[in-house]
């Protein structure tokens, strides 16, 4: 990968010693400090870091787009032999959008809702001096280039008529409108589902080759880096801590942070027997950056010097630099951490399920009709059966909109049951009368995705926990004692009692959320994406905590996530959901080892792996999930299925009859007429709704 030819080519963009700060009321806070890197023609540079690491500020500084009160303090940004720092706004505008284009995280926010997508693309061209007619012509061409189907019709559609993946394609088309030589993509796939992410990553990859683009890819996901990038810059606390080619960094990381980051995420093909190697602590905020090396409080190699002196970025191997006193001294790559603790022996599972669901249906449109007519029912959960026994973890995976959150909310009684039966601890609670709710509350509790939203910002931690304990009948001094116990149990301490949520980091808030769920001593926790809102280095801590609690308290989990690697790591059994139905269910080994349903196979294949050897042909699903208001006839997956009638027209059964969950040769259940059919990787990539 690091051939001489590439090394010697003059860089397209050369950032040297870039520093930027935000002027606050009392103090000026340095956000990025002495950032240097270069982007070579036709290569993809990944900038990786957690929240607050300064990666977005870096690219905003390059384009002179820092929001007030931010400003660039020093450094040079050489683009095609021209320094962009201090360029007048009029000059900068000619470069922005024309020579350097940008793609943002949220395609919804990046498009104007009252303009058709075609007009928006044409506008990007007209602004830089094209005629209306020519701009329109080019817009058609661009839409085709980014894989929008049926361009003639879609040209005059509005953004809300497009799905998330299609919108992101439009945003990319706008970015490409003026044939830029550098594309900056700021977390372009973070808001998207894995199968759509795979589509967009492939699109970017194709565009790079086709148009000879250079790309700066900002991400927090090492999997995306492994998938797409050639070079890598790792940022921590506003500084570059490691820089090199992806191959070098992944095979021999020189900074302990990079190494820890690579090892803390669960792997989809990993052995699930051991705990994850979590990085202790949480990422620093720019206002309270630790002295010396910003990573030293969390680093297992830290020596005295790390606390006092900021390490310089030094070339430790050819074209591979790191800013670390320890690895600079011994010139070695960071050794992998000793194996994680082996998980304790699990309790034996009893035979009686704690939660049993039979043929459950939930109508999410209920009550939204007008005074005169009832709304047409929309079954977001449509005939789901599953059971969870004490001490067991059922992982539930699926893309957004597949109904996994609706399912969990129906179980705890927030959404009404439209049909079917829910049995909790041996009691049929489908009627949801007060005694039923009581049974549910005492048996099942909920851990929410976003720990900031799920804690009332006006209430102290003691109050939030006290509320939960009050429900369980524990009040007064007893409640305080119990709160402290709960906090200790989740790895916090008494000091947190009087704090408010804004004083806590994301990981700490999620711990409080878990403590609150444990207050009523439930038997089953429903974890709805409990780690997806957290920084990568925090996720492992929370997963380890959940596993520890499960084994110590004999809890059962319904673990909902879109991240397949995390689900595999924690789950005994896995259920895969698509458009309100379970398409495959079995033990984690069965489902991941030999997926029988093509959707499962595609999900597993689409998940980016933080390893280079995983770079192989992917199964990229075409199109998006249809709306549950209007599901396809027969098999609901048939519109996107790589082995279905879209590719094999003779398989008519898929459009006429809905497959049932039935046992397959490998032991798990799958709902597919052609279960187990091998899938050719790299199915044609086309966005479209069929």
């Amino acid at each position: 990968m690091t051939d001489i030819a590439v090394q010697s080519v003059a860089p397209l963009l050369n950032v040297e010693g870039l520093s930027a700060s935000f002027a606050g009321r009392h103090a000026t806070i340095r956000i990025i400090d002495n950032v240097s890197f270069e982007v070579k023609p036709r290569r993809v540079l990944g900038i990786v870091g957690e929240s607050g690491s300064g990666k977005s500020v870096t690219v905003r500084s390059i384009l002179d787009m820092l929001r007030n009160p931010g400003r660039v303090d020093s450094g040079t940004v050489m683009f095609n032999g021209r320094d962009l720092v201090g360029l007048p706004e009029a000059e900068m505008r000619k470069i922005r959008g024309k020579r350097i284009a940008m793609v943002f995280q949220d395609p919804q926010a990046a498009l104007n809702p009252v303009m058709t997508v075609g007009e928006q693309i044409a506008e990007a061209l007209v602004v830089h001096g094209a005629s209306r007619a020519a701009a329109r012509e080019r817009a058609f061409e661009l839409l085709r280039q980014v894989g929008i189907p049926d361009v003639e019709r879609n040209f005059d559609q509005y953004p809300h008529q497009f799905s998330g993946g299609m919108r992101q394609r439009v945003v990319i088309a706008i970015a490409l409108a003026n044939k830029p030589s550098l594309l900056i993509a700021d977390e372009p796939t973070t808001a998207l589902d894995v199968t759509i992410q795979a589509q967009i990553l492939r699109l970017l990859c194709d565009l790079k080759d086709e148009l000879g683009l250079s790309i700066i890819m900002i991400t927090h996901d090492m999997g995306v880096v492994a998938e797409l990038c050639d070079d890598l810059v790792v940022m921590y606390g506003g500084r570059v801590v490691e820089r090199g080619t992806v191959a070098d960094v992944f095979s021999a990381p020189r900074h302990p942070y990079t190494a820890a980051l690579l090892h803390s995420v669960p792997r989809i093909d990993s052995n699930t027997g051991s705990q994850l190697r979590a990085i202790p602590g949480s990422p620093p905020t720019p206002a309270r950056l630790p002295s010396g090396c910003a990573f030293h409080p969390r680093c297992r190699f830290a020596v005295e010097r790390c606390r006092s002196e900021v390490p310089r970025l030094e070339e430790l191997a050819p074209a591979h630099s790191a800013a670390c006193w320890v690895s600079a001294a011994d010139r070695m790559s960071v050794p992998p951490e000793e194996e994680g603790l082996v998980r304790k022996a699990r309790r034996t599972l009893s035979a009686n399920p704690i939660l049993q669901i039979e043929d459950l249906r939930t109508d999410v449109n209920r009550g939204s009709g007008s005074f005169f007519s009832k709304a047409k029912p929309i079954f977001a959960v449509d005939g789901i059966s599953l059971e969870i026994r004490p001490g067991e973890t059922l992982g539930l995976v699926g893309e957004s909109g597949c109904g996994k959150s609706t399912l969990s909310r129906t179980i705890v009684g927030i959404s009404p049951v439209a049909g079917g039966k829910i049995t909790v601890a041996g009691r049929d609670v489908s009627a949801m009368n007060p005694e039923d709710r009581d049974t549910i509350v005492r048996t099942i509790q909920y851990v929410f995705q976003d720990p900031f939203a799920s804690l009332n910002p006006r209430r102290s931690i003691a109050q939030s926990l006290g509320e939960a304990l009050g429900v369980a009948g524990v009040n007064g001094e007893k409640a305080r004692e119990r709160s402290v116990e709960l906090l200790l149990r989740v790895g916090l301490n008494e000091d947190f009692l009087e704090r408010y949520p804004y004083e806590l980091s994301g990981g700490q808030r999620q711990r409080v959320g878990i403590a609150r769920a444990l207050a009523t001593e439930p038997k089953l926790l429903i974890c709805d994406e409990p780690v997806s809102a957290l920084d990568v280095s925090i996720q492992a801590q929370i997963i380890n905590l959940l596993e520890e609690l499960r084994d110590e308290l004999g809890l059962a989990y319904l673990f909902i996530a879109h991240d397949l690697s995390v689900v595999r790591h924690i789950s005994d059994n896995v259920a895969v959901m698509y458009l309100g139905k379970i398409v495959e269910m079995g033990t984690a080994e069965q489902v991941y080892g030999s997926p029988q349903h093509p959707y499962t196979a595609a999900l597993i294949s689409s998940t980016p792996e933080p390893a280079l050897d995983a770079r192989q042909e992917k199964i990229v699903l075409a199109g998006d999930m249809p709306s549950p208001a209007n599901p396809p006839s027969g098999c609901r997956f048939r519109t996107r299925c790589p082995i279905g009638p879209a590719y094999f027209p003779e398989r008519e059964i898929c459009s006429t009859s809905s497959p049932n969950l039935k046992e397959t040769a490998t032991g798990q259940k799958a709902a597919c007429h052609f279960a187990g059919t091998p899938i050719k990787a790299g199915t044609r990539d086309e966005a479209g709704n069929g």
Binding site: Y446, A453, R458
Partner: protein, 287 residues
């Protein structure tokens, strides 16, 4: 496990908000508004001390223009208009300081009733819509017809006309808060509806309601004035800013300065409360 014997769990559910309201009075606008309101209120409520003679001292000098002896001039019976204005202001402020909080509390409760029973909640909203449907003066006339002109009628009119505003604000908070994850979290914990309303929804409704309250003080004073101008407010000889204006209009050709004093006071009061609302609004909405 040993837990130190310290203070019991706090029950300070809107302490942070109170601290924020105090911040409003560190801005120039806030200080100016608060000073003006305190001075005006002190003057009004201490009127019997400052002007021990009362508002009904007559003289032969009727319908005089403002002078050093009579700041606002005199009325048709030779009574000092400044004294009468201050006593009038006293009636108005007494009325408003009593009616507005009552309206705030009642409106908020009506708006939040939907937290306990969604059906009752939307029924109450439709009733509030009906109140909005009446033009203010018509509503006032109806109430006066039933209760007769006087303090009670004015109180009822002010309280009732404030209800829709407060009720809708509270309901808006309720509807948005019900979607919040921490409210859903409380529901999954099995927390009761009343407790959710008091702990999670009410504290969030307090901010907009307080600001709206300051705005409504101005409206309430104008309601009093409007009713009194048409003769449905406080009855003579009791002065109010509205009755003074009512009388002033009758003598507008012979003594054009009659209405000047009460108007100036009305404007000062309105400005002070508007500024207060502004300052509070800027503080509570600061991100």
């Amino acid at each position: 496990m040993t837990v130190p014997q310290s203070k019991p769990m706090h029950r300070r559910w809107f302490n942070p908000s109170i601290a924020r309201y105090m911040e409003a009075f560190t801005t120039t606008r806030g200080i100016a508004a608060l000073t003006a309101i305190i001075l005006i209120s002190a003057l009004a409520f201490l009127a019997p001390v400052v002007f021990p003679g009362g508002y009904d001292v007559q003289s032969r000098e009727s319908l005089r223009a403002p002078s050093f002896l009579h700041f606002f001039g005199t009325d048709e019976l030779g009574r000092d208009l400044f004294v009468r204005s201050i006593y009038g202001l006293r009636s108005d402020l007494a009325l408003v300081y009593f009616a507005v909080p009552v309206s705030m509390v009642a409106g908020t409760l009506l708006g939040l009733i939907g937290a306990v029973s969604p059906r009752l909640g939307s029924f109450v909203q439709r009733c509030l819509d009906i109140i909005v449907g009446f033009p203010g003066l018509i509503l006032g006339i109806c109430v006066v017809l039933v209760l007769g002109a006087g303090w009670t009628a004015l109180l009822v009119v002010i309280v009732v006309s404030g209800l829709p505003g407060f009720g809708r604000l509270a309901r808006a908070t309720l509807l948005s808060q019900q979607q919040r994850e921490y409210v859903i979290a409380a529901r999954t914990l099995g927390v009761g509806k009343w407790q959710i309303m008091v702990r999670h929804i009410l504290p969030n409704a307090v901010d907009p309601i307080i600001v709206q309250g300051a705005v409504f003080v101005v409206s309430a004073i104008f309601i009093e004035a409007a009713l009194s101008i048409v003769g449905l407010g406080l009855q003579p000889p009791e002065p109010s800013l509205g009755t003074l204006l009512n009388n002033g209009i009758r003598y507008i050709s012979r003594a054009p300065t009659y209405v000047l004093g009460p108007t100036v006071i009305l404007i000062i009061v309105a400005l002070a409360f508007s500024m207060l609302a502004d300052a509070l609004n800027a503080t509570v909405n600061r991100k």
